[in-house]
Symmetry: C2
Subunit: 338 residues, 2 copies
Amino acid sequence: MQSKPTTIKEIAKILKISPSSVSRGLHDHPSIGAVTREKIKQLAKSLSYQPNNAAILFQKGKTYTIGVILPELSEHFFSTAISAIEDEALKKNYTVIFAQSHDNYEQEVKLVEKMKNQRVDGLLVSISKDTSNFDHFEKLNTFNIPVVFFDRIPPFKNVHYVACSLETATVKALNYLLKKGHRSIGMINGPATLFASEERKDGYIQAISFNRLKFDPSLIVNCDLTEKGTIEAANEFLNHKRKPTAIVAFNDYVALFLIKYFKKLNVINDFDIVSYANLPIISYIDNSPIASVEQYPYLQGQKAANILLDLMANPNPENQAFFNTIVESDLIVNEVNK
Amino acid sequence: MQSKPTTIKEIAKILKISPSSVSRGLHDHPSIGAVTREKIKQLAKSLSYQPNNAAILFQKGKTYTIGVILPELSEHFFSTAISAIEDEALKKNYTVIFAQSHDNYEQEVKLVEKMKNQRVDGLLVSISKDTSNFDHFEKLNTFNIPVVFFDRIPPFKNVHYVACSLETATVKALNYLLKKGHRSIGMINGPATLFASEERKDGYIQAISFNRLKFDPSLIVNCDLTEKGTIEAANEFLNHKRKPTAIVAFNDYVALFLIKYFKKLNVINDFDIVSYANLPIISYIDNSPIASVEQYPYLQGQKAANILLDLMANPNPENQAFFNTIVESDLIVNEVNK
DNA sequence: CTAAATTAATCAAACGTTTGCGTGATATTT
DNA sequence: AAATATCACGCAAACGTTTGATTAATTTAG
């Protein structure tokens, strides 16, 4: 017994009124009398009428869908962020579709195109590692599809974005280490192209100079964030003329590689390690980073989603104000090492 | 300068032919001549025509969308599975929308309803912890929306599902521990309502009796899978008259709680721990489980998606055959402890 | 008591695409 | 040369809903 969903037309026929009246009745349009309105609503309920979304979307030319493009869904940061995005979207009855760039620029370009074709009403993006050209997002402007970047953002201000200030976070991390007495602090930074790398570097320099210490550029090493790259960076520090006593790792994954390597070399106790991301797992490992920068992925996702929902609700015509939201990050000191 | 997407009508007008011919031309319909066809395709390309999806969906009464409902996106298992689902769906040009039940039955019911209203063509579901009633899925049958369950499946066979045989996985785990000489093995099981708990229990009993040992029911403790619940379960074992020397934890998260607690009590070396899930992170912690059951989330997601895509492609009328796919799970022995 | 305003509903178009049916024109078979 | 088949395309309806314009009936104002 195949059920076909009830339509407005059917309700109209039964009630011997026009489909438009039914539509208006269901939407509490003032031009429909209270009596008729109630009749309509009752019948709709008893026939368990559900509006045909596809028809509405088509009619309105909106999809009530927001697209999310991010590098890697299975990374804790992103799955948490998207979880927040989904929650926020649901509140406003929006649907979320997502796709992974797998940190590949070409894939990202394709996905932006696909999202545009899917006619998403708006887009949330965390850009891929090797994206340095942003033309594919420019194109969306012409189609009036708003874009909000989060966490991995382009290095300029004339876009909407939500991100952590990694610069101040890095200052916090450095100050924490300096207060502990460390005077030679290494930093495993990401690829120089990443804005996030720049911020970390700036924070490092800022903290060093604020404390009237001499900045040694060779203590900041760029790294491709792989295990191999991490080991290479580690070796640089081990052979450094001013061998650091503390290391700031680009993120918890790098920290894990580093810890694994240092354990193997049995030098793990020679270093205090501080990291970024604050993966929940970190607190379970021995010799874990003594502190990690919490970047609040859920909050970031939430804010980005809300900005986008706002932008879609009020399609701002000429008003070219850009929402640049900074989520304050915190240095979480690992309790075990307090 | 607002761009509006190109439509078939516009192409038709420029070429002075009918919209239907354009549509047919683009779809290589035989009744359109080769010359006209090429003209159409060229113009479409140069105007960068993109079919209006909403219109097509509406017209065809299909959405080319599959819904995914799962408990918690940020869990590694699920984010990996959904990553696979997305990849498979993309190949067949389907779009994925997803929602999280947050392990809440009422939420799950709502989401099923929402998915139905969104007119998804099919549904992939991993059920919530406290779902024991399945009427909300029954309803989908009447609307001819196929459902494939994966990993967290209902405890009966007359549905489509993909899952690991946790029973045989548990047998493997038990045998491994028995071979290592353990004679009293504790199990921290999940809530009794979960099918996965039942399977673990059955596997436990099966392995015990196969090895002609006496089964002691008090060595299997149900647990709500929280940290608190885990500690309670651990205490039962610590005070047990036949204190176990090995413990099978419901999953890696429970194992982490357990390890943390045992470390605190300084009894971590009294136990061998085996777990389920095989989180990548596990290999980085000290005193990690000596083995973990790999449940192949990517594979499960992939298979479930393909079954669903098949079901949607061939809407089987009377043919009530149910796809029950078992993914063989493996016991991964942690190399460090080999 | 007529004119204007309000109320309650209807009509018809529109959104973009697909598809069954029809129709001339040309080509092929008797 | 007449009958038939094939080709290439157009017509129009349909999918379900929304919405601006319109109408008819009733109420209010002047």
